[in-house]
């Protein structure tokens, strides 16, 4: 999406489906780096459920235009990536950009095997409380 027209109204579920589809396409590009296949698989296994979880608990809710535009811009950005190494960088970054745009957290839905050996990702409190969403809460 590169023009400045208002986006077509979309539900959370529709926007998240678009993001998940774009993320999967990016992963296919990244997988062409054979040495990084395992890492790419780990990223996708962790983040794809996280992206999908952003539609919950109201997948039928119509999103504000700014949120739809933000996610569509992120999708457009990763669609331009041709270098598989850069695709890996974006596999790590895109979920957080989408999560920030939609006001959700992509780190908590990665299945039973969260990173760091934990059951579900990051600690509930403490050092990582300054998540990207901290900006929305106004602290630096």
């Amino acid at each position: 999406m590169t023009d400045r027209e208002q986006p077509t109204p979309a539900t959370a579920g529709e926007v998240v489906d678009r993001a998940a589809e774009a993320y999967s396409a990016l992963a296919e590009l990244a997988e062409t780096i054979e040495d990084e296949w395992q890492y790419v698989t780990d990223l996708v296994d962790f983040y794809l459920p996280g992206i999908r979880s952003l539609a919950e608990p109201h997948p039928g809710a119509i999103l504000p235009a700014a949120q739809v535009t933000a996610v569509d811009e992120a999708i457009a950005e990763i669609a331009l990536v041709e270098d598989p190494h850069k695709a890996i960088d974006w596999l790590s970054t895109f979920p957080h950009v989408v999560g920030l745009a939609l006001g959700g957290d992509v780190d908590g839905a990665g299945g039973e095997r969260g990173p760091g050996g934990g059951a579900a990702g990051r600690p509930a409190t403490g050092e990582d409380d300054d998540s990207p969403f901290g900006a929305l809460r106004g602290f630096r």
Partner: protein, 225 residues
Amino acid sequence: MRFQDAAKDARAVVYAGIQADPLVARAATLLVDATTAERLLARAAMNGERTDPETWRRMFPALFGEDVDAGLRDHAGRVLAASLEVAERGEAARSQYRGALVEELTARLLAGRAGPDAPVRRERRVLFDGVRAEIHPYDVTVESSTNPEVYDCKWGARGINADVLNQLDDARAHAAEEDLKLTVAIVVFDSRSSCELRLDRATAEHAGTRLIALESFDELARGGK
């Protein structure tokens, strides 16, 4: 244990020119005071294909939306402008600029808490009695005689590899043999989850190595963990 300047080869001389570019200092200054969301914007824009700022403003309504505090919006605008300047340096150069930026940001955050008895230095090796010197210098060091620290800096989690982890852990272990607690850390301008996924698969010893990720850069200024 002692610190030593690294010998400058041709690559280091070229890289020193990038490290000295005022753009690196300006971007690092902005990122010292940035929120995690702004740091995410910087990572995305410096990885990005497009350099039109309006594109990125639309992608980050949490930073540039009409309801966002004007001060935060202005600061985020300056972070974005510096990030796009890095992106516009071209594919070959931008990776070096990004690396230099992470190092500069790390050094500045550490310098905020380090006193005169613990100078923050760059590109330094660590020497131990009876141990062959490491080839690669540490990106940033805090050279306290009592609580020394060494940092290896990476733009992305993909940069975490066995060589880096082994060097850090070896240094920690050698210092322990001299009854010295050496803090070793890897600083990555990438999300914590992506780093931890990488570390989960690493076979190199890293239990004693701290991870500073995008969400926790401010820990560098606080220290102690």
